[in-house]
């Protein structure tokens, strides 16, 4: 009997991981140990070198060059990275513009900041799928705008935003791109030199462990640190060091996680399905009576995830049926993106999200299509 990869919650966290990730973590914990940047002995030097190699690898993945490794600040994930930028840029009573498909990592942070410092949150004009409407943004007044923030790929319908074109329109205004869903996907790269701040995570498309993410930016000098503490450098002073990335990395980093991420970066996984296989899956699902796909209107800007809902059926009921009848693992609900669901008209019930991984084969996608067809048919014919 064929064994299918039935895990489709890769936008939450990816599974499986390359085996080298767990091996590297075990090697670090069992054989190396040692802390980062605090001591001269071999154990500490090895740990420090491992962290710095991972910093270079992530820089290379994001901007194509290891030379910009000092643009990489490690955090505990994309949420803490977004907080570092949004809180560190010291918004005052200025405007910020966001896409209509933002995650709570942005929305809750901005809402709190708005109450604290009075910044005004504005939503960029967009088409019905949430794709930023560049014709309309071209005529917007961006005066007194402190920052523009865009989720590179929606975690609800997979729309990939035109961040480079948007940056060309906004000029010197800092652009923050939440690339939690795209860093690690070779066909969805951000033009790093065009973006002021890119936030990313290691445990999704990069196939690393959870607990590691960061900021990539050549403009870290615009930020104030959010966390204060020891760095192993400039220790005679009570002030944080001026040098980046130390300035933003107080405390012992997640060493095992960073080492695991380094292994993931050294062992990238080529996609085992093609864009044609993916398009076929979307076509097969859209043909199911009663099922509505929530995806990009244009497949050219469709990322590796999408959602669906079924008329007359509760999304939770469909997801439960898919799991117990077919073993399909999905994420159901609002996906920590209530704003996106409000915009797409799927609030408050939410949707069932399907998020692909490079490990999925064409056969896995075919199994998924058949399982969804059967589940929807079973539930509608009760």
């Amino acid at each position: 009997m064929a064994q299918y990869n039935k895990y489709f919650d890769n936008a939450a966290t990816s599974y499986p991981k390359p085996p080298e990730v767990a091996q590297a973590i075990a090697h670090y914990l069992n054989e190396i140990g040692g802390t980062y940047g605090r001591s001269f002995y071999e154990r500490s030097r090895l740990a420090t070198a491992m962290v710095e190699e991972t910093r270079e690898l992530i820089a290379e993945r994001i901007c194509g060059s290891r030379r910009h490794a000092d643009h990489v600040v490690f955090t505990s994930g994309a949420t803490s990275a977004l907080n570092l930028v949004l809180q560190g840029i010291r918004l005052k009573g200025d405007n910020v513009f966001i896409s209509p498909l933002e995650h709570h990592a942005v929305m809750r942070t901005l809402t709190a900041l708005s109450a604290r410092v009075g910044c005004k949150i504005n939503v960029l004009p967009a088409k019905s799928d949430g794709l930023i409407d560049l014709e309309k943004t071209a005529t917007l007044d961006f005066s007194r705008t402190a920052m523009v923030i865009v989720s590179h790929q929606s975690n609800v319908n997979g729309v990939v935003q035109p961040v480079t074109a948007l940056k060309e329109q906004i000029g010197e205004i800092p652009l923050l791109v939440d690339a939690a869903q795209t860093v690690g996907r070779p066909h969805l790269t951000v033009e790093a030199e065009m973006v002021d701040f890119i936030t990313w995570t290691g445990h999704k498309a990069l196939h690393g462990p959870s607990g590691v993410g960061g900021v990539f930016s050549g403009k870290l000098q615009l930020l104030e640190p959010m966390v204060f503490g020891g760095t192993g450098s400039n220790s005679e002073s009570y002030a944080m060091p001026d040098e980046s990335p130390e300035r933003f990395e107080a405390g012992t980093p997640n060493l095992a996680g960073i080492v695991g991420l380094g292994a993931a970066l050294r062992h990238p996984v080529a996609s085992r399905h093609s864009r044609e296989d993916y398009l076929r899956l979307l076509d097969e699902l859209s043909a199911i009576k009663g099922l509505k796909l929530h995806r990009a209107a244009d497949f050219a800007v469709q990322g590796d995830l999408f959602s669906f809902s079924c008329e007359g059926l509760d999304c939770g009921e469909v997801a439960t049926h898919l799991y117990y009848q077919h073993g399909i693992e999905t994420r159901v609900g609002l996906h920590c993106a209530a704003m996106a669901h409000r915009f797409l008209g799927t609030f408050p019930q939410g949707t069932i999200r399907i998020a692909l991984s490079s490990f999925h084969t064409a056969e896995d996608l075919g199994f998924l299509a058949a399982a969804v067809r059967e589940s929807v048919h079973d539930l509608l014919s009760r």
């Binding site: 420090t48 760095t231 220790s235």
Partner: protein
Amino acid sequence: MTSCPGKLFLLAFKATRDAIRAESRLREKRMVFRVVALPRTLSSACGMALEFDERNFSETEVIRLLDELGIKTVVHCLKKPEDAGR
């Protein structure tokens, strides 16, 4: 030009990343040095420093190699062990 003739000299770094890059670069060039704790008399930072014997490698040569990578360092002259107590 060297400021530590016939003596040990030590390279200190402000940033951890520079220390690791320097170590890697100098090992690539087969330079012989010891990784040591930064002497408390020089700095209260708790990072690592690289210790060289000037008879093997000139300070100028080492600095040039690191300059090529844009690595900033501070050089401190140390007494050789046999000089101690004289």
